[in-house]
């Protein structure tokens, strides 16, 4: 009896032990972000042209509710955000188009905001002149200056540009293609088709958004959201790089995020050094910043320097979208690794170069310009390779333990019964 109790205790102990050992959850490592010294910078660009006098929103003039929205935004502005305000069509009362189309001023410089001064400047605005949107965008980009972080322009207008050229959409595309990363968010105050098309084009060219604001609440809420977004996301800015037409002369990339431009049916090459025992990870996004035909694709290939393809990532789509992305992982296969990079006599091993090539299958619509190319965002990472698991044919899991235990129990019982039967027959004989 004592024996039996003890064996039961051992069995229970083993069961609890296995329960404790069981599968362990995978650990998650923390993401680290580097602090940036530069504050977020936003400029609000407000249209104060004659059409803003129209009283079509809640019985009030467009300018009055834009002023109210600005007041609330200035009141709720986060302390670290630097805000500037630029107006267009605010001063020139004459009829001369040439002069009226130069009418844009910065009424609050980009910097730490003096709330009362900013509000006073906005309150004094009276709807007056023309709508030089293109020029205002160009000036706003200059106001925000150059730097390593993303700048945001919020354009609020009720009428289409009356001063083209320059075409505001083309201006936006040029600004986006320059060194500084610039996003233009647009708000349309009038339900007008031409205005909507123009603002959609400006927003699309810079990766911004378009909103049709038709009440004071909508306008205030949206501007606040955009200013907050500028604060939350302005540090996520890639480094500019220029891919080449062949692998030999391609730029050599360290891990990180890069921005480039690629036109229709162009190939852009980059090189990444990968050491033995490392894995290359790359992903690419090509943005549709202009009207293209509704079917499209993007291809990212990794090749050896001799042109042999190693792996490819591909994605295609159809319909309205912002970016098309593809990604790939690659690490040298085990056999290749032991054979190819022969360790040099002094006990070192050299990195091998992997070429990356980005190509697209976008088709321009008639009238769509090819230059500057479409924005390409390339992410490169090199991490420790994950070798293939080579475990023996063993089992795992609670079902296995249960099965083995039952098999053991049955074997023990059968053996015991056989022994009893054998002892009984042996005694009788």
């Amino acid at each position: 009896m004592i024996n039996k109790r003890r064996s039961t205790a051992v069995l229970l102990g083993l069961l609890t032990a296995t329960a404790l050992i069981g599968p362990s959850p995978a650990g998650a490592d923390d993401e680290t972000t580097e602090p940036t010294a530069e504050p977020p910078k936003v400029e609000l660009v407000l249209d104060v042209s004659g059409s803003m006098r129209a009283r079509d929103i809640d019985g009030r003039s467009r300018i009055s509710f834009a002023q109210q929205a600005f007041d609330e935004v200035v009141d709720g502005l986060p302390d670290e955000t630097q805000l500037g305000i630029r107006v267009l069509g605010a001063t020139y009362r004459g009829k001369d188009k040439k002069q009226g189309c130069l009418d844009t001023q910065q009424i609050v410089p980009v910097g730490p905001v003096d709330r009362s001064q900013a509000k006073a400047a906005v309150a004094g605005l009276r709807p007056t002149g023309f709508t030089p949107v293109g020029l205002a965008l160009r000036s706003a980009a200059q106001d925000l200056g150059t730097g390593s972080t993303t700048r945001r322009i919020v354009l609020i207008t009720d009428g289409e540009d009356t001063c083209a050229p320059p075409d505001p959409c083309q201006v936006a595309r040029e600004l986006a293609a320059q060194g500084t990363r610039l996003v233009v968010d647009t708000l349309g105050l009038a339900p007008d088709e031409k205005v909507r098309r123009q603002l959609l084009c400006i927003a699309g060219a810079t990766g911004g958004t378009y909103t049709a604001a038709q009440s004071a609440d909508e306008l205030t809420g949206r501007i606040k959201q955009l200013v907050d977004r500028a604060r939350d996301t302005y540090t996520a800015t890639p480094a500019a790089v220029g891919g080449t037409a062949a692998c030999d002369s391609a730029p050599l990339l360290a891990p990180g995020v890069y921005a480039d431009r690629e036109t229709f049916s162009e190939h852009r090459w980059y090189r990444v050094p990968v050491r033995p025992g490392q894995e290359l990870r790359a992903s690419v996004s090509v943005a549709l910043d202009r009207p293209v035909n509704p079917d499209y694709g993007v291809l990212l290939r990794a090749t050896a320097p001799d042109g042999r393809e190693l792996v490819r990532g591909v994605d295609a789509g159809s319909g309205r979208t912002d970016v098309v992305s593809a990604g790939l992982r690659w690490s040298a296969a085990e056999e290749e690794e032991t054979a190819a990079p022969e360790p040099t006599p002094d006990g070192t091993r050299t990195a091998r170069t992997v070429c990356l090539v980005v190509s697209n299958s976008f088709a321009a619509r008639p009238g769509t310009g090819a230059e500057p190319g479409m924005p390409v965002e390339l992410t490169v990472d090199v991490v420790t390779a994950s070798p293939a698991p080579d475990g023996p044919d063993l089992g795992r899991g609670w079902a296995l333990l249960l099965l083995l235990t039952l098999a053991g129990l049955v074997t023990g019982l059968v053996a015991g019964l056989l022994t009893r039967w054998w002892v009984a027959t042996w005694r009788e004989n």
Partner: protein
């Protein structure tokens, strides 16, 4: 004897409880989770959320909204989105929820309405996507879902142009279930698929050769990890032996005192 039967029953019950096949319900916010009222507009600016955290954000029709969440091996994630329209619309619109892994590779949905069309009269549209179970390891050339970051993108793919820019409200929840069935998976990813989001640097020259690291030979390297097949099978063998002895002991005639 009675104790033995009871312990065996407990083992069976434990085995059943851990069996795979827990059905997925529609994702619901976990109680006490703080709501998120933000969304990013690109892969780099995606708003990080966790499973069970409710998201409610106002947006404009035509915005491409991005969120990202972390996934671990063995989990099955389900994304549920509801878009509520604030204004009457001029026609039907088609909405899409796309899920990408940390390398921006498109992930397949095994269930859910990924691209529903909202009729002109509809006041809201519901989207869903159930992902595949996250594997602990996969070959570099395969597209299997791996531990790391995942991106959710909500966009409208087809609509009458005048409807662009109209206000909408978006509700999103990502649900995670530990699906079990992981006993068939081996291997481990050395680094999760989390993208390097820092600005890169262009190298001037090929990196210098680095010395070959000496392979460490210590005892812990030889010991199997907890939870490995060696441990499971070894413990199973011990249990079988103990059960065998116990079974043998059961058949003995009670000893007369």
């Amino acid at each position: 004897m009675r104790t033995l039967i009871r312990s065996a029953a407990a083992t069976v019950a434990a085995g059943l409880a851990l069996a795979p096949g827990a059905a997925l319900a529609a994702p619901s916010p976990s109680p006490g989770a703080t709501a998120v009222a933000k969304a990013g507009t690109s892969f780099l600016t995606a708003t990080a959320i966790t499973a069970g955290q409710p998201v409610r954000v106002g947006a404009s029709t035509g915005d491409h909204l991005y969120w990202s969440f972390r996934a671990d091996a063995g989990q099955v994630h389900e994304v549920g989105v509801t878009v509520t329209f604030g204004k009457p619309r001029s026609g039907a619109s088609t909405w899409t929820v796309d899920v990408f892994d940390g390398l921006r590779r498109r992930q397949a949905c095994t269930g859910g309405a990924q691209t529903p069309t909202a009729e002109r009269s509809a006041t809201s549209v519901t989207l869903g996507c159930t992902l595949r179970r996250v594997r602990p390891w996969a070959e570099p050339w395969s597209g299997d879902p791996l531990p790391g970051a995942y991106y959710v993108r909500l966009s409208v793919t087809d609509l009458p142009e005048p409807d662009l820019g109209a206000p909408i409200d978006v509700d999103l929840v990502v649900g995670a279930v530990d699906s079990g069935g992981a006993s068939g998976d081996d291997g481990e990813l050395a680094a999760p698929l989390v993208p390097n989001t820092r600005a890169g640097t262009v190298l001037a020259a090929e990196p210098a050769p680095e010395p070959v690291a000496e392979e460490e030979t210590n005892l812990t390297g030889w010991l199997p990890e907890a939870g490995s097949r060696w441990v499971w099978t070894g413990v199973g063998g011990v249990l079988a032996a103990v059960a065998g002895v116990a079974g043998f002991a059961l058949t003995r005639r009670p000893r007369r005192r």
